[in-house]
Amino acid sequence: MFYATLEGLRRFRIPHKFELVSIITLYARWIREGRLRVDPSWNTEGLRFTVQDPCKLVRQGLGDEVAEDLRFVVRAVAGEANFVEPWPNRSNNYCCGGGGGALQAGFVENRRRYGRLKFEQLAATGADVVITPCHNCHSQILDLCAHYGGSWQTTHLWNWIVRALVREAAA
């Protein structure tokens, strides 16, 4: 998890020679540079996408900049017009309710009551697809959708990037 590594390196002053980067930042950079080519024309039915801004990556990690990168990638992959913004969002987003080890801790009723707000927020977007770039968010939102009767698909981002991928013709 991005924050655990970022903050761990900082708080414990762990020496290191590498630079810690988020895959979301890289997707966006590579698409902007033309190094990763994606084409949204697969989305013929106009599937509408929204995003979960993970606390650990956005509010506690790289801030709104990475939230913007996330949106940029989703738009590039799903089509400009097919992105729906949740509210609240970016650094002010609600936690999914699975964070902080809640998915492991076993207080299931509390976790789902917490997540009710997340369910309502996502349902209000009317999106067909909820992109969850964090594993914790992914498991929690999958569970909330099933538990409260949502109708969206909960997926990682990489599935759709591959769907939209344009590869050079083989030489």
């Binding site: 998890m1 991005f2 997707y27 993970p54 606390c55 650990k56 509010r59 902080g100 599935n159």
Partner: protein, 240 residues
């Protein structure tokens, strides 16, 4: 001295817990709380276990240490720090909750939560052997190469010294949904990225942040950092 009046027992007003938290968190600023309630209105854990962030702070400030130590609300709060984001005084209840979690004796912490961290301290959060990770990656790669001719040249290197990027892998995928890893490999391949996994300390999930023991958290991050540096890579990619 025998006749001297018994002093009032002010134990519950001595705020030992508050002092302890401020010792660990010099900029904890508990006393600055305006009781404005902005944290409460923005916190989805408000009301669970009869508690909310402002109430927790009041109990701490008034030295109601037993109540604070007893509440399971510390596991309803997800340490998401939205309270800190909203609070006009910058008070970080999530960080205070982290300290409180660490004060629970190990055997009184949620079992699976502590277990995920303990497993990660040995290798990875699901506890699969490192050899199994290496094997699963190789097996899944073989299958893709065989079944999808357009990806016959797909790579998933492990311990490739001097690669430009190190990629961590949440242990959930090799353990329960290995086919999910393939998407990432395809993206990196299409972008022409020189990357590698590691055969040790490859899981970036890092659950040791949650039970509240800094020593455990430090251990897992330190091991990862040493391993990534030993590969001589320039970037550590975190996928979540």
């Amino acid at each position: 001295m025998a006749d001297a009046p018994k002093p009032l027992d002010l134990d519950r007003l001595r705020t030992r817990l508050k002092e302890r938290i401020l010792g660990a968190l010099p900029d904890g600023r508990l006393d600055y709380c305006l009781t404005c309630g902005l944290c409460v209105s923005g916190c989805p854990a408000s009301g669970l276990e009869g508690m909310d962030p402002r109430r927790l702070l009041r109990l701490l400030v008034f030295g109601q240490d037993d109540d604070v130590l007893a509440t399971d609300w510390i596991y309803a709060c997800t340490m998401c720090q939205r309270c800190k984001y909203a609070c006009p005084m910058g008070i970080d209840v999530g960080r205070i909750v982290y300290e409180l979690r660490g004060m629970r004796p190990r055997d009184r912490r949620p079992r699976n939560l502590q277990r995920s961290c303990d497993l990660q301290k040995a290798s990875n959060s699901t506890g699969i052997p490192d050899e199994d990770f290496v094997w699963v990656v190789g097996d899944v790669l073989e299958e893709v190469r065989r079944n999808e001719p357009e990806w016959a040249d797909l790579q998933a290197p492990i311990d490739k010294h001097g690669a430009e990027y190190f990629l961590n892998q949440n242990a959930k995928e090799p353990t329960v949904e290995p086919e999910e890893m393939v998407h990432l490999w395809k993206i990196l391949h299409a972008a022409g990225v020189d990357w590698t996994y590691a055969s040790r300390w490859w899981d970036g999930a890092n659950y040791c942040l949650f039970p509240g023991d800094p020593a455990d958290w430090e251990l897992t991050v330190r091991r990862q950092a040493e391993m990534v540096d030993s590969l001589g890579v320039r970037y550590y990619i975190n996928t979540e």
